[in-house]
Each structure stands twice: as structure tokens, then as C-alpha cells.
């Protein structure tokens, strides 16, 4: 157990100090750590390994509960582990023909598993083949490759979504959206409006990047979003996380933009990697939000004034699922109503919390 503790401490400290932020960075760091944890420790049964990963996961998630990607990656890994053990078990039981054992119906993605008992932990007493360990690690490496190639899978769908001479609106700086638009610009000619996203003004950076790629880009103040919405053909958004109900945790200003789009019946498309999809529910609008330093809203130098007023500077908005028309993930396009299915396919219901 102790062999990986230093690495875990290091990542926990980085998450707490916010030295690591952004879904993609934390997801990759988490996965890297988990590969080390799994390969360096000895384990023989499924329970042992699940307990080990969960104990690490709990610490990481508590370090910064708002980085939902950390929890998602851990759940994905746990899911992979359970699947691999289940497979190994079924192959063992197939070999031991004498013992009559009804192997679970293929994988958990069947309708049977949805309704019946799910995620039954494999029996601890079974002797697994020696290749199991390397198989699990290989599966997790595949997961890492998936993370690295996530932009390619998403941006390949760009030409299906964006047509010539359209006007696209977006907000904030999202790597996924940036890649998506750049890919579309290879084949089509269209115009992009970027809301500047005060107070971080990340929209301005986004506009700069897009215009460098030769896309006709206009920066608009956040206040003008509603006014120009009627001219827009499509709103394409990035997000920090997607919650179980299809709601978004996205940069502040997104809710306003999505609401304006709904008012004008303009489709809202969200580009996101699957690792941002979380099985957690937002019970409270603030639950996954981060409140930043108010300095960028009201300067600390103001002196007297700051004693008399309270300034909050929330970094994210919660956008409810009925504002979103389509999710473009690395596994294709899905309506919000289909997300439950993705959650079932990717996560084991036993892993929604990391309590042991």
C-alpha cells in the first residue's frame, strides 16, 4: 500500500492547491496515477483491487470535489476492472464444465442486467489466469489512449454539424470546441461569434485562436448575446462536466446563452469527451460550482468599498438539460435523454460513491 502513497499525496496536494485544473489535465493525471497504483501493488481478487482503487479515489475526489473528471476516470477504471474479472471468471467456469454455473448474460449492457441484479462482484475464491493482471493494465492503457485521442473522435463529426455560411455562437475557451470548429473550417466557410466571457475573458483568447486558424471570428460582449442570437444558426458549447441528468457545469455565462438560444429556438450542441460525463446528480445548483477570487470583479485595491459589499465570482453555471439539444461525444451524437444509457455502459452502479 505504501509504495504509491507519495504519488497520491503529490496529486492530492496539486488538486487542493489548484495547480492542476481543467478536466482533461486532471483526467490524464488521475489515469497515470492509477496505472502506477495498480501495477505496483499486489492483489489477487477483485475485491482487493476495487478496494485499493476506491481508497485512492476517495482521497483524490475529496481533494477537489469540483473536478468531476477525477471521479469519472476512477469509475471507468473500476468498471474495467470488474468487467475483466467477470470475463475471467466466466472463462474459468467454462473450463470447469463439471460445475454448472450460469454465466452472466454477456455484459452489463444487456437489458437483463439493467433490470435485474447488476454488478455482482465476482467470486473471490476463483483462481484467475496469470494473464489477467496484464490484461487489466492493457485495458487501462487503452483507456489512456482513448483520452489522448478524444479530440480526433469528436472533431471528425464536425462536418456533420456545421454547414456552409452558418453563423455559430460559442462562449469561453474550450479546447474541444476549438478543435471542432477548426476541423469544420477545413471544409466549410462559416462565421463564429464568441462571447468574451467576463470576468475571465477566456472568450477573447478563444477568438484569437480561431482567427489564427483563418475562421471569420467576432468577439461580442456577454451583454450582446441575446441581441445577436436571432441571427445565429447554432450554438456550440464546451463544458466542464456533464451530470447524470444531462445538465452541464460550464463556464459562467453559458446558462444565459443557452436560455437565449432556447428563446429563439436555436439548437444547442455540446461538445464533450465521455470522461466528462458524471453519474452524479445536481441536487443543488451550487453543488459543483467553484467561487473564485472576487478580485477580477471588484479590485481589492478599492479599499473601503470591499468591507461594505459582498462580491461573489462563480466560475461555472449550471445549465439544465432541457436547454441542450445534442451532445457530441467521442462515441457519436446523443440527445440528453440518452445519457443514462451511456452512464450504465461506462460505470458500475456500485461505484457511484467511493465509500468502502
Amino acid at each position: 500500500m505504501s509504495r504509491h502513497n507519495e504519488l497520491v499525496d503529490d496529486l492530492v496536494a496539486k488538486l487542493k492547491r489548484r495547480q492542476l485544473v481543467g478536466s482533461s489535465t486532471v483526467a490524464q493525471a488521475t489515469l497515470k496515477l492509477l496505472i502506477v497504483v495498480i501495477s505496483k501493488n499486489t492483489w489477487t481478487t477483485c475485491n482487493q483491487l476495487v478496494t485499493l482503487v476506491k481508497s485512492v479515489g476517495q482521497r483524490l475526489v475529496e481533494a477537489n470535489p469540483t473536478e468531476l473528471a477525477v471521479g469519472n476516470i476512477i469509475r471507468r477504471v473500476l468498471h474495467v476492472i470488474r468487467e475483466m474479472f467477470r470475463e475471467a471468471e466466466s472463462s474459468v467456469s467454462q473450463k470447469n464444465q463439471t460445475e454448472f454455473h450460469s454465466a452472466p448474460l454477456s455484459t452489463s449492457s444487456s437489458m437483463y442486467n439493467l433490470l435485474g441484479e447488476t454488478g455482482s462482484t465476482p467470486d473471490d475464491n476463483v483462481q484467475y489466469s496469470s494473464s489477467l493482471r496484464s490484461n487489466i493494465i492493457q485495458e487501462i492503457r487503452d483507456l489512456r489512449d482513448e483520452l489522448e485521442g478524444i479530440y480526433d473522435n469528436i472533431k471528425n463529426q464536425a462536418s456533420l454539424q456545421i454547414h456552409s455560411n452558418e453563423i455559430i455562437m460559442t462562449i469561453g475557451r474550450s479546447k474541444t470546441v476549438e478543435e471542432f470548429l477548426k476541423m469544420a473550417a477545413v471544409k466549410r466557410k462559416f462565421q463564429v461569434l464568441v462571447a468574451e466571457s467576463a470576468p475571465s475573458y477566456s472568450g477573447q483568447e478563444m477568438a484569437l485562436e480561431l482567427s489564427k486558424a483563418g475562421i471569420e471570428t467576432t468577439v461580442i460582449p456577454d451583454s450582446a448575446v441575446f441581441a445577436v442570437m436571432s441571427r445565429v444558426n447554432k450554438v456550440i458549447l464546451g463544458t466542464h462536466a456533464v451530470l447524470a441528468n444531462g445538465g452541464l457545469v460550464a463556464i459562467s455565462g453559458t446558462h444565459m446563452m443557452a436560455a437565449a438560444a432556447k428563446h429563439h429556438s436555436i439548437p444547442v450542441v455540446v461538445c464533450t469527451g465521455l470522461y466528462k460525463l458524471s453519474p452524479l446528480y445536481p441536487y443543488d445548483e451550487d453543488s459543483f460550482n467553484v467561487t473564485f477570487n472576487p478580485d477580477s470583479v471588484l479590485g481589492f485595491e478599492e479599499g473601503d468599498l470591499i468591507e461594505k459589499i459582498t462580491v461573489t465570482n462563480p466560475y461555472y453555471d449550471y445549465v439544465s438539460p432541457d436547454f441542450v439539444n445534442l451532445f457530441i461525444t467521442n462515441q457519436g451524437g446523443h440527445p440528453p435523454s440518452y445519457l443514462y444509457r451511456l452512464i450504465v455502459e461506462n460505470y458500475d452502479p456500485n461505484d457511484h460513491t467511493f465509500d468502502l
Binding site: E6, A13, D286, D295, E301, D304
Partner: protein, 719 residues
């Protein structure tokens, strides 16, 4: 012309300032050329060593700090020092030295525990005599712990600043110019800003182009003497720097990037105590050292020091209002914490029990396992772990630490209540109180504003004598009285300045107190005023006293001549006097220690004293005019030592001989002294002393004429 050169920046107008520019003749400044070799040696390893110390010498948190270290006081339920460690950790610091003196065991235990959970190397250095930054730096130099540049911070800094930019800047500057020994980090804020420590202001004279600090002066909140209201700076500054800023709008959070030389400089100048008032001021006013101090101005980050209860209040509020992000309670910097952020700046641990009818208003932090009963109202406050708050309690603006019990119907306003304190029912705590560990305030008591209560007995051996008039009949505790006699005799604190950095301090309250004080001691004030005038009028006397003290110390502690000379030189520069003034005091000062009756070997005979301390006199004498002057002083000094001329002669003759032998005074000087009218006048003894020198003069004259003859002979030979 002076005012033209001054570019006023910041808000200097709210305080009356006389800016005095001192005109001194320009001296050639030694330009330091760093050779290539030096530059090569400059490439340092990336590991930045940190040194970090805490000062206990200010007593603003008493009586709470009688029982624990200031850096361990909880700020929003996290020990103060954790914020500093965290700040350093974010800056990528790998090694920390912690200096501590009082309560070192508690600090050590905490640091040990903290070090386990982080990957920094933290060393604790305990030294009881370490009373100031100066002492700590000297200790550091003595132990040779640091061989790279380092960051110097106090244990009460709260900041979310990223230091890497400052470090890079400092490094680049050091590469270019070796004399840049320090970079101070200054934060811009308006003069009335709450994170500005009242009464701890500073005035900086800066050159924006070269980022150089040219002059520094501490500022008091109330300037009662003319000296407080005046700033003196060197005219030379304007010759070198075309554009100068005089600024009062900077918060000095004492985060300094120091080079390796800094501890050594502290050792050389062993009267330096404070890093700002002594070190920075000293380095900048000294034209001998040729060192420069630079600054880095930050504006979009948070940085403050918790140096007083007023700052404790302000910084707590800044943390709760998230100005220190990401150092906020819900970041859970301590491993065991689990705070959640709620709307309205409320931070709550998971295990808190709130009753159905209690009201948690804005800006509240509630620690683990705390219970709050019916109808209690909390606003703008911090409540620690395991507290029990009864029903109908009103807490506003207060800081309640761990394990405190507050019973029904209490009212607490703008105060600090330390661990384990108990407020029985119907207690009222008025604003500005400090209630120390384990004090019990009995039922129905009303604690007056600005009280300081402690449960420690006055003497360690005695039992605690409770004061029922303050803590009630069933209470336990006494009011703490500040020790009036401050150790620092030069630290004349204006009584008004004492109160300003208190918790919940406000001007109106002060005026009342002040008026009362006036009534009480109107005469005292007057006498004080006249004292100050006298002191101002007579710097010579002060110099007398200081030199005498320095010499006494040097004799008693057997200092090196070098060190004594350095100290005296510093005094000379500090008092802006010349070498004549110094000689006038030092020569009699040294001779005074001669004991004619002493046996050889005791170190007090004429010969021994001269051999040991003569070089010191030599340091004060340079050219011929000095030498003649020195002899006059010697003559007078010897005459003044004893009533009996024979005794005086016993001192004068060897001294003169010594001066001649050691080339302190040359022949010409001795001759011109002997033949001058001034030496022939004066008292009887002085005249007799001159006569003592006669044989020597004759000898000198003779040898001189012989020499001349020789010269002539040689001349003749050559022809």
C-alpha cells in the same frame, strides 16, 4: 527644485509630511564590475532554500500568546503557519528553516506533524535568545545553513501570490549586478484599506525604471513628535535617479528574496534588529556598502501579514470573502478538514449540527462537531471545532476557537475567544475583548470593551486570583495588564499608537480614551513634549552616551577592534557627525579604562590598554590635520583624567610614544602640535603634559635635521 524632482504617486496627501532632502557632498561611488568568473559561479541550482522566522517580540496578541505561539493561532480554524507553508509550497519551495524561540515545543510538534504530510523538508531551529529578525539572521550566518539565495518571510504571511516571477526577476538582476542583494515584494492598496495594518505603515521612495528602492521609512499612525512627521533623504538620490516616486500606498508584507550576503551583512552590523527599520534603512543610507535593494510590486494577488488583532480580523474576513482563493476554507488545506461552501459565504463542516431555528447569516465558518441550538444568530464569525453554542445566543464579528462553550442568551461582539473558554448564561462580551485559554466568565457578567482576560496566574508559583468584578462570581480569570516597561529603550511608543492595531479599534473610542488620558496626565504630556524637544536639540549628548555604551560593551565583551570600529562608524553615520566628534569621545573613552595601579598582565596597564585598543583610535585618524587634532584631544584627555599631573604624565608619555611608534601620528604632526599656540595654552596640567613631550620633540627635530643633512649629503654626492 527638490519638489520638481519629486513625483508624487499614491496617496500621500492624507498625512502631513515634511520631506527633507539632505545635501551631502557626493562621494565617488565604487562601481562594481562583475567579472565573467563571478557570473559563471552565479548559475545556481534551482532549489531555492527558504528561511522563515517568526517574531514574538510584539505583544499584541497577549494574553493569548502567553500560552501558545502566535503562528499557531487558528485563522479560520487553520493554524496561521499552515497558510505560510502553503504559500511557500505553491512557490515550489523545497526546504524550510523555521526559527522559533518561545513555545518552541508546540511549534516543533506542529511542524513535525505538518512535515509528514507534505514533501517539503522543514527544519526547526530553536534559539531562546533569538528576539528579532536580526538575531535569527546572525544565527543563520553563524551556522552556515544557507548557501544559495533564499526567501525570507514571517510565520504570519497569508498570500496566494505565485513567487516564480519574482524569483526569476531577482535571479536575472543578480546575474547582471551582484550588488542587488534583496528584492522586496510590495502590494498596492489604498491607504484606508482594511488589510493594511494600522500604525505599521511604511513610506517607500522608489525608482520605477530600475525597480530600485531608494529610501525607506516606517510610518506611525499618530505622529506626535516632529521626528515622526519628517522624512530625511539624501540629495544624492536625485542626482542618480531622474524620476523618483514617494509612495505610501504599498502594503509591505515582508516577503523578501534575499541573497546569500544578507545574513553576513547582519553579522557585520550587529545592531540591526528589524529587517525594515534597521536593515533596509541602514543599507540604503550607507554609502560604504554600495548594495542596492529592489522591489517587486504586485497588485492582482493577495498578501497580508497577521501582525495584530486588527489584522487578524481583516485577514479572516478576506479569507472568508475568498480574496485569498485558492486558500479558502473549502479548499480543506488541512488533511482532516472537510468544509463545504454554501451560498452567502457560509462554510460548514459536514459534522456540524444546526438546530432548526438557528440563523446562520453571511460570512460564517463553522468547524467540525460544533452544535448550535435554537434561535441563535450567527453573522460574520468563525466558530471552531467541538463548540457548543446555546440557544438565543447572538454572535457577531467574533472569532471563537475550539472547544468553547457558550451558554444561553449570551451576546458576543467583535472579540476573540480562545480554546476551552466558557461563557455561562446571559454573559455579554463587548467589542475588542481577547479572552484567553480556559477562562470562565460567570453568569450574568458583562465584560467591558477592550478587556483582556487570562486564566494564567500572575506568578507561576501562585494560584490564580480571579477578579469577580469582571468575570462574575462564578468566573475564573483575571484581567491581563500589559507590562509597561518595554525592554527597548529606544522604542518610544506614543500611547496613542498602541491602541490602533487592536481588534475592533475605532476612532471614536480612541478619542474618548485619549481625552481621559489627557485629563489624567496633562502634565505628563507636557513634560513628555519638552523631553522630546530637548532630545532633538541635543544630539551631541545622545552621541556621547551611545559611544560610551559601545565602548563599555566592547571592553566588557572583549570585542574585536574591527567590530568595535564598525559599530562606531555606524554610530557616526547614524548621527551624521564627523571624525573629530568621534575622536573627542573615543580617545578619553579608551584612556578611561587605564588603571595605573593595575599589575601587568591584568589587561589594564597603560601598555596593555594601548596595545589592545590603540588601533581603534588609529581608525579614527587619517590625514595630517586629523593627527594634529588627535594629539590635542589626547593632551586634553590625559589632563582631564587625573587631578595630579604626574599621573597624567604616566599616561600621556606612553600614549604619545605609542602614537608615534604605530604611525598613528607622524613626526610632522607631532611637531606642528608641539609648536602650535593652542597646545601651549590651556590648564596647568595640559602645559605640563606638553613639556613631557619636549625630549621627544628634541629627538625628533634632531633626527629630522640629520635626515635633512643626509639628504643634502646625498644631493651633494649625486652632483
Amino acid at each position: 527644485m527638490m519638489t520638481e524632482a519629486l513625483k508624487q504617486a499614491g496617496d500621500v496627501t492624507d498625512i502631513e509630511w515634511e520631506i527633507i532632502v539632505l545635501h551631502t557632498p557626493t562621494k565617488p561611488v565604487q562601481s562594481k564590475k562583475s567579472t565573467l568568473m563571478e557570473k559563471l559561479q552565479q548559475t545556481r541550482d534551482d532549489e531555492e532554500e527558504e528561511e522563515y522566522y517568526r517574531n514574538y517580540f510584539d505583544e499584541r496578541f497577549r494574553p493569548i500568546t502567553l500560552e501558545t505561539a502566535r503562528c499557531l493561532l487558528p485563522l479560520c480554524n487553520v493554524p496561521l503557519i499552515s497558510y505560510t507553508f502553503e504559500f511557500l509550497a505553491v512557490a515550489g519551495v523545497q526546504e524550510i528553516f523555521v526559527f522559533c524561540c518561545s513555545h518552541s515545543d508546540k511549534v516543533k510538534a506542529f511542524v513535525k506533524q505538518y512535515g509528514k504530510s507534505s514533501n517539503m523538508k522543514i527544519h526547526t531551529i530553536v534559539s531562546q535568545e533569538c528576539m528579532s529578525v536580526g538575531d535569527a539572521m546572525r544565527e543563520l550566518d553563524a551556522k552556515q545553513l544557507i548557501d544559495t539565495d533564499f526567501i525570507l518571510v514571517t510565520g504570519d504571511v497569508v498570500s496566494n501570490m505565485k513567487l516564480d516571477k519574482v524569483l526569476d526577476e531577482h535571479r536575472a538582476r543578480r546575474q547582471a549586478d551582484k550588488s542587488a542583494i534583496m528584492t522586496m515584494v510590495l502590494k498596492k492598496a489604498s491607504p484606508q484599506h482594511r488589510s493594511r495594518a494600522v500604525g505599521d505603515g511604511s513610506l517607500f521612495v522608489l525608482d520605477q525604471a530600475s525597480k530600485e528602492c531608494l529610501h525607506y521609512q516606517p510610518v506611525k499612525a499618530f505622529k506626535s513628535t516632529r521626528r515622526d512627521r519628517r522624512m530625511t533623504m539624501d540629495m544624492e538620490i536625485f542626482d542618480k535617479h531622474p524620476e523618483v516616486q514617494v509612495r505610501n500606498d504599498l502594503i509591505d508584507c515582508q516577503i523578501d528574496i534575499c541573497s546569500v550576503e544578507v545574513p553576513a551583512l547582519f553579522t557585520e552590523n550587529f545592531d540591526y534588529q528589524d529587517i525594515r527599520a534597521d536593515f533596509v534603512h541602514g543599507i540604503l543610507t550607507s554609502d560604504l556598502l554600495g548594495k542596492t535593494i529592489h522591489f517587486h510590486e504586485v497588485s492582482d494577488v493577495y498578501a497580508a501579514r497577521v501582525r495584530s488583532t486588527q489584522m487578524y480580523d481583516a485577514v479572516s474576513k478576506d479569507i472568508i470573502s475568498r480574496w485569498t482563493f485558492p486558500m479558502v476554507p473549502d479548499s480543506n488545506l488541512q488533511a482532516e478538514d472537510c468544509y463545504e461552501y454554501r451560498r452567502g459565504l457560509v462554510y460548514k463542516e459536514k459534522s456540524v449540527v444546526l438546530s432548526r431555528t438557528c440563523v446562520v447569516e453571511e460570512k460564517v465558518v463553522i468547524g467540525a462537531n460544533t452544535q448550535i441550538s435554537e434561535k441563535s444568530v450567527l453573522s460574520n464569525c468563525v466558530i471552531g471545532k467541538n463548540c457548543v453554542i446555546g440557544s438565543n445566543v447572538k454572535i457577531d464579528n467574533a472569532y471563537i476557537w475550539d472547544n468553547v462553550r457558550i451558554m444561553d442568551n449570551c451576546v458576543v461582539q467583535h472579540s476573540i475567544i480562545a480554546n476551552g473558554a466558557v461563557l455561562e448564561h446571559d454573559v455579554t462580551i463587548n467589542k475588542g475583548c481577547l479572552i484567553s485559554f480556559n477562562v470562565t466568565v460567570g453568569a450574568n457578567a458583562t465584560v467591558p470593551a477592550y478587556s483582556r482576560l487570562t486564566a494564567l496566574p500572575e506568578d507561576e508559583d501562585e494560584e490564580l486570583v480571579s477578579e469577580p468584578s469582571i468575570v462574575g462570581a462564578t468566573g475564573r480569570g483575571r484581567s491581563y495588564k500589559e507590562a509597561e516597561d518595554s525592554d527597548d529603550e529606544d522604542e518610544e511608543v506614543d500611547p496613542k499608537n498602541k491602541g490602533v492595531n487592536r481588534l475592533a479599534y475605532d476612532m471614536t473610542a480612541l478619542k474618548l480614551e485619549e481625552a481621559k488620558a489627557r485629563e489624567d496626565s496633562a502634565s505628563e504630556f507636557e513634560s513628555e513634549a519638552s523631553d522630546i524637544e530637548e532630545e532633538e536639540a541635543n544630539p551631541a549628548e545622545e552621541l556621547d552616551r551611545e559611544i560610551a555604551q559601545t565602548l563599555d560593551r566592547a571592553f566588557k565583551e572583549k570585542h574585536d577592534v574591527d567590530i568595535a570600529a564598525l559599530e562606531l562608524n555606524t554610530l557616526r553615520m547614524a548621527s551624521n557627525s564627523n571624525f573629530h566628534e568621534m575622536r573627542k569621545r573615543i580617545i578619553p573613552g579608551v584612556l578611561k579604562h587605564i588603571d595605573l595601579a593595575a599589575a601587568p598582565g591584568s589587561g589594564k596597564t597603560v601598555k596593555e590598554i594601548l596595545a589592545r585598543w590603540g588601533p581603534l583610535i588609529g581608525r579614527m585618524i587619517h590625514d595630517e590635520a586629523d593627527q594634529v587634532d588627535g594629539l590635542f584631544i589626547l593632551q586634553r584627555a590625559c589632563a582631564g583624567l587625573y587631578e595630579d599631573s604626574t599621573k597624567s604624565q604616566k599616561v600621556f608619555a606612553p600614549a604619545l610614544r605609542y602614537f608615534y611608534d604605530e604611525d598613528i601620528t607622524e613626526e610632522d604632526a607631532i611637531l606642528s602640535w608641539y609648536h602650535s599656540e593652542k597646545s601651549q595654552q590651556g590648564t596647568e596640567i595640559e602645559k605640563k603634559l606638553r613639556e613631557v613631550a619636549t625630549p621627544m620633540i628634541e629627538f625628533l627635530e634632531q633626527s629630522e635635521s640629520e635626515e635633512e643633512d643626509d639628504d643634502e649629503d646625498e644631493d651633494e654626492d649625486s652632483e
